[in-house]
């Protein structure tokens, strides 16, 4: 009995020694969020397994960590506690906060070869807008979305509108919305969600009215500019004046169900919902770019890869390899088809997989078509507080508690106070 035990121990010790000999394998830890439905963790795990197969000397621990806020909190807490985290997928708009915390390094420090530099330029510029700050690339686009307009083609036919001509301008949106709205309240013309991420939807309206919500260096907001006020007034008017949208706020979480039940003929929502709408719609639906006023526009959204500072040069090189692998055109295409997120580079839309998918399901390409007009999502220093100030102002205006001008003026004053130390 005792002899067998000691033999087992000896074998174990030898195995440990041998293991130690070949344990030069690099280990990377990566946190990532999932904020839309579906078994996305499986897709990520599959991609990571493929990477490990292609790079046997690197081991990757990909840890699913909840939504964007959870993931940021967990990754930063792990760093603070001395746990290794070399890279993560975090909210694209968290860049300023991560830089301020001195947690991340720009990709330029690692991607130095000519090949790497070309790779940095291979993504859609619209998707790099949130990641490039002061000339350095802090974030590489991975799970990225944008706002598109879903519309019910059957409802369009029913009221005599051309189902292949969704509204292209604000005035068409109002005119068609009026036709589509039923007087008895059983169907609205259009719904734009104003809970959850009001500032995101508002970024689209502001851009369409010719104004951005913030400066490129994240130290100034433009909430009280006349065109921004006008944009919020238009949003309010859709409900209170034109009566094509419910008054008050529209719930983000239940809007898709409203659309699928035919209670609204059009909705603005994330491209991340495309697969779910495709599965749930019992009617003929279309996907369109958002209508324009002074110009077209829609903000991007979603998660970027970041490299963390606390890492060795070897780890950084391996992390870069992993990011390159995950964002390579074939993988980006596969990821886009599985999730509805965008292909992150023009090359990904050139792959045969995504081309045949877009041919059989044209809405998949709408997000790409809109990319040339896309802008960065609201992102500044003190981002959380400033987004909240704007969200509150939007909701105050939409519920009629304050006029648009007053609400945005207050939000701007608060943002200026918060951003003062950064000038």
């Amino acid at each position: 009995m005792f002899g067998r035990l000691s033999k087992a121990a000896a074998v174990g010790a030898v195995a440990t020694l041998l293991g130690a000999g070949s344990a030069s394998a690099l280990e990377l830890t990566m946190y990532y969020p999932v904020s839309v439905g579906g078994p996305l963790t499986k897709v990520v795990d599959g991609m990571v397994a493929d990477f490990e197969k292609a790079n046997p000397d690197v081991k990757v621990n990909a840890i699913y960590a909840g939504n964007y806020d959870d993931t940021r909190v967990k990754a930063l807490a792990a760093l603070k506690a001395g746990q290794p985290v070399q890279l993560s997928v975090l909210f694209s708009i968290d860049a300023y906060d991560l830089i301020e915390q001195d947690a991340v390094i720009p990709f330029d420090e690692v991607a130095k070869s000519a090949d790497d530099k070309a790779w940095l330029k291979s993504f859609y510029p619209g998707l790099m807008a949130n990641g490039v700050i002061n000339g350095k690339t802090w974030g590489i686009p991975f799970q990225r979305s944008t706002i598109v307009m879903y519309y019910n083609k059957d409802a369009f036919r029913e009221v005599g509108l051309d189902p292949n001509h969704p509204p292209a301008t604000w005035s068409e949106l109002v005119a068609m919305g009026k036709k589509l709205t039923k007087a008895d309240g059983s169907r609205w013309g259009i719904e734009i969600p104003s809970t959850g991420y009001p500032y995101w939807m508002f970024g689209a309206l502001a851009k369409q009215n010719g104004e951005l919500l913030m400066s490129a260096d994240g130290t100034e907001t433009h909430f009280d500019k006349p065109q921004v006020v006008e944009a919020l007034q238009f949003w309010r008017d859709l409900g209170s004046k034109y009566k094509v949208m419910p008054e008050g706020t529209v719930e983000w979480g239940t809007l898709r169900q409203q659309f699928l039940e035919g209670k609204t003929a059009m909705m603005w929502h994330s491209t991340g919902n495309l697969t779910a709408v495709k599965k749930g719609a019992k009617f003929d639906f279309g996907v369109a770019v958002l209508p324009a006023n002074r110009e077209p526009g829609s903000p991007t959204g979603g998660g970027n890869f970041y490299l963390f500072k606390k890492s060795t040069p070897e780890e950084r090189a391996a992390a870069l390899k992993l990011v390159k692998f995950m964002t390579a055109p074939e993988r980006a295409a596969e990821w886009s088809i599985a999730t509805g997120y965008m292909g992150v580079s023009p090359a990904s839309y050139q792959t045969s997989a995504l081309q045949s998918y877009a041919a059989e399901f044209p809405p998949a390409a709408v997000a790409r078509d809109q990319l040339e007009n896309s802008v960065a999502e609201l992102s500044t220093y003190q981002g959380g507080r400033i987004r909240k100030a704007l969200d509150d102002a939007i909701q105050a205006a939409l519920t009629g508690a304050k006029p648009a001008k007053e609400a945005l003026g207050e939000a701007q004053a608060q943002a200026q106070r918060l951003l003062k130390p950064y000038h």
Binding site: V250, Q258, K263, R385, D392, A393, A401
Partner: protein, 289 residues
């Protein structure tokens, strides 16, 4: 003698260690952290005294949230206690289907708050929601229940009462089962009506339970925020925001731990004040003499 107190301390040691580690030390640290400024890589944290509290005092959202929380407590506590008592009295009688009825009343309590919030989110959804479909039959439709600052709080209060009353019913039911039947028989012989018996005998006998339930209900009014994550995120324009949710926002959405610590200190002080006053003023009248 000496040995006895050593044994005593050894006996409470495990509980004391756990309490200290998970309650007392965090409280002290929270109060400590609330006195320092937010740290960043460029500017390290420094002592600011009451600075964080002064910022809070000048924050209109804080006052709104505090007011909301008081309204939420006033709306949920009395109604859910009264409802719990009525339900307990109903299911305490010998009626057919007593077990099923008890289960039905208790069912909302067994649902996790997140699940309940998801259900009610769809009850309240304009047009396709249960509430609007019922009202639609009477010609009222399209009410934006959660999207209107005037209706959102009553909506959340109604859901919370639905969720809580069954839980408190269990305590009343347990208390009712221990009441000696002779009391009613004696009162009945004296010619007391059911109502007089309830008001003069039964309700005073239930006072210790009411006290217990009251403290729990008040604490819950400040502790329950799970539904906000699902239903409103505190909106529109903070109309349904509550203290604990605002603490969460400060800590994890704004990344501002000192502000969250200051808010937590305020919440702790508030709860301590409520608990102490309940014990001081109500405890004397609780026990039937």
């Amino acid at each position: 003698m000496r040995k006895e107190w050593v044994t005593g301390y050894l006996l409470i040691l495990p509980a004391a260690v756990v309490l200290a580690a998970f309650t007392h030390v965090p409280i002290v640290r929270t109060v400590h952290d609330s006195l320092f400024s937010r740290a960043s890589a460029i500017r390290p944290s420094r002592f600011v005294g009451t600075g964080n509290f002064e910022t809070l005092a000048s924050d209109p959202v804080f006052w709104k949230v505090l007011g909301n929380n008081l309204a939420f407590a006033l709306g949920t506590v009395p109604v859910s206690i009264a409802l719990a008592l009525v339900m307990a009295l109903l299911v305490n009688r010998k009626i057919r289907g007593q077990g099923t009825l008890r289960l039905a009343y208790f069912l909302p309590t067994m649902l996790p708050m997140i699940a309940a919030a998801n259900l009610w989110l769809f009850f309240y959804t304009p047009d396709i929601g249960l509430l609007d479909q019922i009202l639609g039959a009477f010609g009222v439709s399209g009410t934006n229940w959660l999207g209107d600052p005037d209706t959102v709080m009553p909506c959340l209060i109604a859901m919370t009462v639905w969720k809580e009353a069954g839980f408190f019913m269990i305590f009343y039911l347990a208390a009712l089962q221990t009441q000696p039947p002779e009391l009613w028989e004696a009162a009945h012989l004296e010619g007391a009506s059911r109502w007089v018996y309830f008001r003069r005998v039964l309700f005073p006998m239930l006072m210790p339970t009411t006290m217990f339930v009251l403290i729990n209900a008040v604490l819950n009014a400040f502790k329950l925020v799970d539904h906000l994550f699902i239903m409103t995120k505190g909106g529109p324009n903070n109309a349904s925001n509550l203290l604990l949710y605002y603490i969460f926002e400060n800590a994890f959405a704004f990344n501002d731990m000192p502000a969250a610590a200051a808010l937590t200190t305020v919440l702790l002080a508030l709860l301590a004040l409520l608990a102490v006053s309940q014990f001081l003023f109500l405890d004397k009248r609780v026990h039937y003499r």
